[in-house]
Symmetry: D2
Subunit: 356 residues, 4 copies
């Protein structure tokens, strides 16, 4: 297990889907940052289940408590421990999954790796683990805000339906978190349709960081791009990540792909930002643009082929309260991941030079 992420600003998540509680310890938070539990809860509510007709009706409130590291509403430099108690876990529904592996889930691989596993609701492999990422992301956002950075994300595509316009203001006003209100309606219809068909949809989340300072990213192996790669692909259900033009850039010619350096007053600007805000693994000052592929929810109420722990063939229908598409709820999680990467890099960058 490696339950920690980050070098200076470092989070450690713990907890299982159906255990008594989940949480995160955030180490390396600078002292002096104002912080209240209400601020943390705000983002957690965006990740929460049961928000709308396109998400699972599981009833967790996901209420956060701050157990350490904050005194009189200001961070002290000590590790911040955040916890939420599982209240609506209904493990009885999972009894039949003790011996059998759900397709698309980690049941089989955990069993092969660890031998002994908590099968209830996916145990440690459940996306409930992302609670701690979003909670920690709020603190990360404050650190990067101190460097001027602003992070947000949206559903760029669900079930093949893509946003054709972009309006940041509409994102949190529709239940799929699309940036295009027309596409949003189509996405909602598609999700409800899939749900009715006992099927599920995937999609693409786009995450952006605005007002970036140049200079963030630690070559060679902790390049901004590399840490984004690790961060995004550590989130359940993700299958790909691209930066800037990404895979499309692989089909460009150098003369198209290269962003020229231009001057806007005394500001250096970088062409059309094909690069997505990074050159040589270091931020350019242009917006960071990341897209992440999210697969369709693995839990579907359809009969599928599987095997048991005793290696007998079996049929399985995965009942339960599942999101027909996890994309809308993945938006705040992936947004938090970019914030976590950038917060660590903002702090690391304080050591980049010495004025002699």
């Amino acid at each position: 297990m490696s339950s920690s992420f980050g070098k200076i600003f470092r989070i450690t998540t713990w907890g299982e889907s159906h255990g008594p509680a989940l949480g995160v310890v955030i180490d390396g938070v600078p002292a002096g940052i104002p912080l209240t539990v209400e601020e943390i809860q705000k983002d957690l509510d965006r990740r929460r289940v049961g928000q709308s007709k396109v998400t699972t009706p599981r009833g967790e409130r996901d209420a956060a408590e701050i157990l350490s590291g904050v005194y009189e509403d200001v961070t002290t430099g000590a590790p911040i421990s955040l916890i939420t108690y599982n209240k609506d876990a209904d493990s009885s529904k999972y009894d039949n999954l003790r011996e059998v592996f759900r397709p698309g889930h980690a049941d089989y691989t955990y069993w092969r790796k660890y031998g002994h596993r908590d099968h209830r609701g996916g145990g440690r492999s459940s996306a409930r683990e992302t609670w701690g990422r979003v909670a920690a992301g709020v603190i990360a956002k404050k650190i990067i805000a101190s460097a001027g950075i602003d992070v947000f994300a949206f559903a760029q595509e669900i079930g093949g339906i893509a946003c054709e316009t972009f309006d940041r203001d509409v994102i949190e006003q529709n239940i799929v978190r699309a940036a295009d209100p027309v596409a949003a309606e189509k996405m909602i219809d598609a999700i409800l349709q899939a749900k009715e068909e006992k099927d599920s949809l995937g999609g693409i989340v786009e995450i952006r960081a605005l007002n970036m300072p140049p200079g963030l990213g630690e070559p060679t192996f902790d390049k901004l791009d590399a840490l984004i790669g690790q961060a995004m692909l550590s989130v359940p259900a993700t299958k790909g990540v691209e930066i800037g033009r990404g895979f499309a850039q692989a089909r460009m010619r150098g003369s198209q792909s290269n962003d020229p350096f231009l001057l806007d007053g005394d500001q250096v600007r970088i062409g059309e930002n094909n690069a997505g805000g990074t050159l040589g693994g270091i931020s350019t000052g242009e917006d960071v643009i990341v897209r992440v592929a999210v697969k369709p929810t693995s839990s579907i109420e359809r009969e599928q082929d599987t095997v048991t722990k005793n290696l007998d063939p079996e049929k399985i229908i995965v009942y339960g309260r599942h999101d027909p598409s996890v994309v809308p709820r993945a938006v705040p999680v992936l947004e938090a991941m970019l914030a976590l990467v950038l917060a660590d890099l903002v702090l690391q960058n304080r050591s980049a030079r010495i004025e002699w």
Copy 2:
């Protein structure tokens, strides 16, 4: 700077494009592995410049020397230091780049981050740094071979031309390292055409690991997928990474995307392996399949807009000995990266359980 990668099996690369030498220190190599410099050189020769008409004519031999950690052709457990001396660096060609930033390169971002930089040939940001990755990859391949794993890579697409057939045996028989000999010819033509037009091409590299044991990968943040994401996007010129069906899986429905568990004798097999060999961040036992987007070479002999360190607008033509497409030489580098990820995970997995 973060010049190290890996947790137990950990490499640290050093060196600049035009400095006296480049190298890598590989720590955490288990004792007892037979190792000769000839084995290391073999993969380095695949990465070497000047191999063919589609690569740069720069004349580095890239000869490796083993300076430590190996005694009587067997590893001792001590760190292995490998070095190569730069012999054909011609820094005079870079004198005009001291004050000006090449589009698509890291010149600008290094300057913004570090203030002081070695501009010759890109300095630390040069792809010459990947020498050490390939050298270390040879040792990684021996570690994973001890677990049965076999890693290889090929050019899946260059300049929009994709392999339509797959034959592993042809990969190293054509100078672009395609798995389809017909596509290979077209790719070569496209590269030479681009070269004549003083332009460059990008493409897609596919990397696979065969004979995978199940159980490799360390949730939550060092998932097999996450480490692949970091590893691949730490390589210069990469813009995206996907696993299994990747971005295409975002457009599937759950009923298509889910791989059923099947039995092949007493072996569990996993459907069509849409997942690309990983579930919940842990290897399933099926082939690991990764694709990486590589952008077109940034150095082109065309006039482009740029700025100087004094923030004056300037025109630049990047002369020099450059690959018109880096894809063929990226193949052994990205292959090495997967080997590095897996070697570390093979060793980490030794701590996954205790038989009580």
Copy 3:
């Protein structure tokens, strides 16, 4: 802040003396280890306050709860989160310490480093933080027990009174945890005398590991000795650590100091074990022997010179419920630290070689 210790078996402690709770997250625990909360509580009760007339009467029960990583009383490989709630914290006694620094405590240095601090009961710098170390130590002990290792500690010296005999069985039978029952009585008298005089005593704790396998320790920087040095000196109130003969060995000649290699049947034995069980940073197979200097409790009810945050001179008397000597309660903490070091090294050693 760096609240984590260990590389594979890695603990992260969090919590303040007077916050709502304290805890520890233990990552990298192999799956398959039987574990109950009762086992953990047993060692915690040895560290607990209010055990006897020589310890503080603060009334914390220190009851542990397991929040994750254990399913049906067996570890799953997932991070184990342990928590205890502060029940008997009386912060009102600390109101006068908001503006003033207690001599011998971390009040001043936290204020200089972090600016903002939780002053109540020492906040993060309180020895209450060691709760998590002892709790995690129980799991560490199980891991090392699987390699045959047995760890224990005792008060070798308190207030200048040293054990002259050694009987492991008496250690937990006297309230100071001495290995010599006669010395124990004198130590108790000395502590009570110091308490009456509103003063405090220090001492020396000896920690041993028996039935050591040879081969534990990771040269060059994670030598067994080096990790012991870090582990022990990370515990509050420690001022020195020595291994084997330690400082006395600095006054020996080589001909006395060198342990000869001897044969006992087919077992290699190592002289008088002056080395304390380690050569070149790797365990020899002989007992590991460590001694740690513990300073007298800093909190004393005597008038002392200090300054305020506004840099005014001030007199201070530190009232409160304090141990007149922390040595007896440091015994289980330092014992846990050796277990933590060894557990990580046992797991790391699984990667020392490959049989080719």
Copy 4:
């Protein structure tokens, strides 16, 4: 193996006593620091063999080359690779040690851990490895100098003869590096006497950091004290470390041991600095004072009992060119270790707070 030390400022040493070369890679060095090879060589010459009649006559020049990370005599932020070639290694003298273990050395433990080892001159376990620590220490000293800190060390005691006076200026003027010129003469006589008797002497090195800023040290596990413990005990031949009054403080009462806070103008001063410059693991601003116990040289030309790899009893006399006391040459090594610890903490401390 764990050949790296430090979190942000991180060194990785490699190389064996009789291999072709030894070196160190220093990662995380801020850009902008002036640096020449001559500066590095100056400290290396203090560590070098063959300096005087009390050190081994082995003739290594230990000449350093800078291979990367420095451009036009200024650091670039890229990893700095330093190398020295072994020129005077005479491996023939070690042929008889292939099958037999030298008492007091790591021969036996390396063999038990790794199976396969380079026995020549101790291989990886040789104190020649410390070359890289001293070389890296020069860069560390520049980083801490930028924060005002000044580090030095001296032989406080050799063969039981202790310095009774302290004069920093005399340290580098006598061949044992004592701070008391009278004691120095006695130490030299004692060493020569021991040499004549084919025996060896140990001693105590004291290391100090002056002009310390308050605030350095990262609780909980990377306390200044803890990192000093790890750093010092990672050096070959060390057996103990103490800070401030150390073991003597264990025999004090709280009323003696506690340093009062005093005012010197608007400067806070801390009593007699019994604490040795650290409270709660964070620097107080007073001098950091560390003492390290160094054992007598293990290689002595006297007959000693040992065993062979085949577990036969054997007699051994360790011929060769050895220091009769390693203390004088340990002085620059242990001084470098304190510089390495502090350099990392100076950089880490840049993340301690955010001004909101």
